[in-house]
């Protein structure tokens, strides 16, 4: 069942970033951190990153792969992909609505 990301509280936004980061293939922690920073322009702290990873892993949205040296890559699961899609579609709808209203009021 897709319960969304709101249950993650202050980790909701970082978990969304992580899911987006993993959507094009497995990554380890450092790669996710740099990817998120490149996309959002904001650094993702290590404590926040692993707090979010633990929550996503516990909920079955990501899966840990075999470690490569001391780096362990993670991949998106089917549940994680579904959740991400739902979240992004929700955000897209919200964005369209907001832009439409903004356009209406500006015009």
């Amino acid at each position: 069942m897709n319960r969304g990301l709101t249950e993650f509280g202050r980790f909701a936004e970082p978990t969304l970033y992580i899911l987006v980061s993993l959507s094009d293939g497995p990554k380890h922690g450092y790669a996710m951190m740099t990817d998120v920073e490149a996309v959002t322009g904001e650094p993702l702290g290590p404590g926040t990153l692993y707090g979010a990873l633990a929550r996503l892993e516990r909920r079955g949205m990501i899966e840990a792969l075999e470690p490569e040296n001391r780096r362990r890559p993670y991949k998106l699961t089917a549940l994680g992909a579904t959740t991400l899609r739902t979240q992004l579609e929700g955000l897209a709808g919200f964005t369209r609505l907001g832009l439409a209203r903004l356009g209406g009021s500006a015009g």
Partner: protein, 267 residues
């Protein structure tokens, strides 16, 4: 490992510690990163359920056990909580005793610490309760550890009845030291837990020995070093309680757990 990573729970470090350490090694934390890691450690303590139980078991060096054994270990864990309460009473008792009225007799003055004695007695009794929890937890093969715990269980509360009877205190402390070292030798305790008891215990005993020599006959001045020794002994209650808190996984039917007291698979 970064000092901040040590703030994370043991189970969390077992699961994510190496990855976090690797990440931190490649990216200096800075102030904001350090604060973020600190907040992450607090969050990890608040949400231990986030770590896979299998990782918790590995961190505690425990293998799955039978339902009966699991229930025994839950009882032992509760007894560990009693040991923690004993630490509070131990300190409280001595603080009360050290602030008792000064009594002048033919040999000079001394503090009448009688009001603190019930606390000290109860603290020793609660330490004995914690050690009974240890007896439940440690395997029968760790005979020396069991003997050490038994000595402390008997001598400790008796000493609490009359803390001025030093041989009883020495017996209790010796039993605890023997227990801690033997539990470590038997693979039941980590070296950190054993040292956290042995070091302060020997240090506290040395302080008492020195104070009794240096302040021979001065029953008022000797109180200060005695209180220092009292504080030094406090980790005994804390470590005895803490080492009872981790629980192994409950064995699934058919996975071969036999309920033996040998869950520890690594030190």
């Amino acid at each position: 490992m970064s000092g901040l990573l040590r703030l994370y729970p043991r189970a969390w470090r077992a699961r994510y510690g190496a990855e976090l350490d690797e990440l931190v090694a490649h990216r200096p934390l800075g102030i904001s990163g350090s604060i973020d890691l600190f907040r992450g450690a607090l969050d990890a303590h608040r949400h231990p359920e986030l770590v896979d139980p299998a990782a918790v078991d590995r961190a505690a060096g425990l293998a799955a056990v039978s339902p009966e054994r699991y229930e025994d270990l839950r009882v032992a864990r509760r007894l560990g909580l009693a040991s923690w309460l004993g630490a509070v009473l131990w300190i409280a008792g001595w603080v009360i005793a050290a602030n008792g009225p000064i009594v002048i007799d033919g040999d000079g003055g001394y503090r009448d610490g009688g009001a603190g004695l019930p606390f000290v007695l109860l603290a020793m009794a609660l330490l004995a309760v914690g050690l009974i929890g240890q007896m439940i937890r440690i395997p029968n093969r760790a005979r020396v550890a069991r003997v050490g715990a038994l000595v402390a269980i008997v001598a400790g509360p008796v000493w609490g009845l009359g803390p001025w009877v030093l041989p009883l205190g020495i017996a209790a402390l010796a039993g605890i030291v023997v227990f801690a070292l033997s539990a470590w030798r038997a693979g039941q305790w980590g070296v950190g837990a054993a040292l956290a008891i042995v070091g302060p215990t020997l240090g506290g005993a040395a302080i008492i020995g020195w104070a009794l020599t240096a302040y021979d006959g001065d029953r008022l001045s000797v109180l200060n070093p005695m209180l220092l020794a009292v504080v030094a002994f406090t980790p005994i209650w804390l470590v005895v309680g803490a080492t009872l808190q981790s629980l192994p996984a409950l064995a699934e039917p058919g996975d071969g757990a036999d309920g033996m007291v040998g869950e520890v698979v690594s030190a």
